[in-house]
């Protein structure tokens, strides 16, 4: 149950990254946003074809590079994506993935195979779930309101 050790040993593939929802670079921001809404995710991968990762388009990109500067949602996503995103491999340790997220302030990392083909996306929420799962007794035994304790046993 040592977290420090498990972070080194457990690999990214164990977290079952979410599917790599993709758009082509020439598709519009509106289409990317529609895909993100449909799947309730915070980013999509930008791929010219299924086997090549060109960039990532995230909520933050939408804010910074589209809404903030008043671009219409019809611009191609290639214009406002983040190129060459930091990625992880399925065999990388979870610790390495967390460190990359922390260093860059990223909430999503594309998961790619050694040939660079996109396999999925690892989100910070998935990491939080991993950590919560890691300490089930202390995290999940928290009462809904920690300061309210029943005075009598139920049914007593």
């Amino acid at each position: 149950m040592e977290l420090a050790r498990n972070l080194k040993v457990d690999s990214v593939s164990r977290l079952h990254p979410t599917p790599p929802w993709q758009v082509r670079p020439d598709q519009s921001v509106a289409e990317a946003v529609a895909l993100m809404r449909q799947h309730r995710v915070g980013c999509v991968l930008v791929c010219p074809d299924e086997d090549e990762l060109l960039g990532i388009f995230t909520e933050r990109d939408l804010m910074r590079r589209v809404l903030a500067v008043g671009l219409p949602l019809s611009v191609p996503v290639a214009k406002c994506m983040t190129r060459n995103p930091v990625v992880v491999h399925p065999k990388d340790s979870i610790g390495a993935a967390v460190r990359r997220m922390e260093e860059g302030g990223y909430r999503h990392l594309p998961v790619v195979d050694p040939a660079g083909r996109p396999l999925g996306v690892l989100s910070v929420k998935r990491i939080v779930h991993y950590l919560a799962e890691h300490f089930p007794s202390i995290v999940y035994n928290q009462p809904p309101d920690p300061n309210v304790v029943p005075l009598e046993a139920e049914g007593a």
């Binding site: 804010m63 939080v128 202390i138 995290v139």
Partner: protein, 173 residues
């Protein structure tokens, strides 16, 4: 589950010893196994040093919210009414799900229209484990922190990760 006072063998989870009526609730409390678990159980949200909240009233425009987020590099803004009472939160996700074409002519929305009302909050005195659970259960990346009912600040999933990773203090991944 043996009673520490009279050694009577009680059913697991009993709150009171069936023999000597001693209170057994403490026996079921989780015990920290290592430094990270102890940190999660004993450290409080206050120890994360919640960022002082940058707030907006519900009447502010969505554009104002967007500008503030960009200016301060934040992903969520607590919404407070006149009496500094927290009434909602607006996040990047809310902007994403409601992003409309800026070139389209439509009535400007206020943050009150898009915000999540009555957001889940934590108290400064709550344990980190409780806050982690709230983030995981709700899928939240931000939690407003209250103290005596007043908004103290906001914690993000990043603060939590940094804390846990520091507690692990392992190098060489």
């Amino acid at each position: 589950m043996n009673c520490p006072h009279c050694a009577y063998d009680n059913l697991p989870g009993s709150e009171q010893c069936g023999h000597c009526l001693a209170d057994l609730t403490q026996l079921d409390r989780p015990v920290a196994q290592d430094r990270v678990e102890r940190s999660l159980m004993e450290d409080t949200v206050r120890d994360l040093h919640p960022t002082p909240a940058i707030t907006l009233p519900p009447t502010a425009s969505v554009q104002q919210a967007l500008d503030l987020m960009l200016q301060h590099q934040i992903g969520a803004i607590p919404i407070v009414d006149g009496g500094d009472v927290l009434v909602g939160i607006i996040t990047e996700r809310d902007l994403l799900t409601n992003a409309s074409d800026p070139s389209a002519e439509s009535a400007p929305l206020s943050v009150g229209d898009l915000m999540t009302s009555n957001p889940t909050t934590v108290r400064a005195s709550d344990s980190l484990a409780f806050a982690l659970h709230q983030m995981d259960a709700g899928g939240y990346r931000h939690l407003p922190v209250l103290e005596n009912g007043q908004l103290l600040g906001i914690i993000s999933v990043r603060d939590m990760l940094r804390r846990i990773m520091r507690a692990c203090k392992t190098r060489g991944w």
